[in-house]
């Protein structure tokens, strides 16, 4: 098992394509997206069942610790402008 950083980014669904593009530009091609989430935060409640869309999505990315700083740097401006949440934790990647 290798130690990695486990990054969770919760944003509005329509932001996801651009965030993935940004991550890809940083050479990060491994990600998992959980869609259709409800949520609440500073900008009030967000639900997925409105006619105009409006749900959240969560992008899970596992990266080596060395890459963490760079990911945070590119993600932070998006969160600043659009709101959202980014959590970082420790985990071990089971090598297969």
């Amino acid at each position: 098992m290798e130690p990695v950083k486990r990054i969770e980014i919760v944003v509005d669904s329509p932001e996801v394509p651009e965030l993935l593009q940004i991550l890809r530009r940083e050479g990060i091609g491994g990600y998992t997206v959980f869609g259709h989430l409800r949520g609440g935060g500073d900008r009030g409640e967000r639900r997925d069942d409105e006619p105009s869309g409006g749900g959240n999505a969560c992008i899970l990315v596992a990266v080596p610790a060395a890459k963490l700083q760079r990911v945070i740097e590119v993600v932070r401006p998006v969160l600043k402008r659009r709101g959202g949440m980014c959590l970082v934790g420790d985990a071990h990647w089971v090598v297969h």
Binding site: D12, P14, E18, R43, E50, P51, S52, G53, G54, P77
Partner: protein, 328 residues
Amino acid sequence: MDLSLIASNLLNPPVLFFALGALAHFLRSDLEIPQPLPKFFSLYLLLAIGFKGGSELHESGLGGPVLGTLGAAVGMAAFVPLWTYAILRRRLDAANAAAVAATYGSISAVTFIAASAFLAQLGVASSGYMVAAMALMESPAIIIGITLARRAGGGTPRTAGMPVDGGWSHLLRDAFANGSVLVLSGALLIGYATGSSGKEALAPFTDGIFRGMLCLFLLDMGLVSARRVGSSRELGLFPVAFAVLVPLANAALGIAIALWLGLGQGDALLFTALCASASYIAVPAALRLALPEANPGLYVTMALALTFPFNIVVGLPLYMAAIQRIWS
């Protein structure tokens, strides 16, 4: 005003299903219509209404008042955000004023559909090209609203700091390549191109089950807009008054233009419904990305919880009564 108009509007299954949805919310029922079902219903409605409009346009041709009406439609879609912005700016910051202005400049396809159903019930004819007018009115207000916000210093281009794409190309895409705009106008062109053979082949789908699908969608709209009525109480007096009075003003403008264009009563009602309605699908979807500083809790709530039910329940018979009185 003729009370039978109100009754025949209210005794419509779609309007009653809207009320049932709202009732379910107020009884705190666990009824819910989860995604992607609402998306399916609205996709269906846009496809069907677009296609039917296109087929009828094929039959009627582009002569007569068609081009004038389409021009007037685009004109109203541009004028409404401008005049309402001037008023909104007194109470709201630039981003929110621009967002609300864009919302009211654009249209609600379901209000249009409800107006058509209302006409069908009254036995009043209308023209297929009004769907083209609707398609043309969806997007301009988005462009104008965002331009207003940017001029006022807000509306940070979506990609600030992200050299992914130019800000304006993004904006045009959000406005014109928006999913609902595309399905509506695409289906319109397809209906136009395939003419009467296409019309016949799709009739059971686009006509037969149309009213029923509308009932399902309005059941959901009742749930969703009743949920937002709670938040509308927190909005304060100004937005609530705006959400009722501005549609009335736009409807009056619409009726005047329809008269001037020489439209029939049915087309006049459809045009008026377009002017009076506000967008809660296409515009919010675009603004969430292009104007994140604006609060969807304001502009979506106004369009969805106030203006939409007002138009559906009270507005349509009111506008029709006015049209009947003026036209006769």
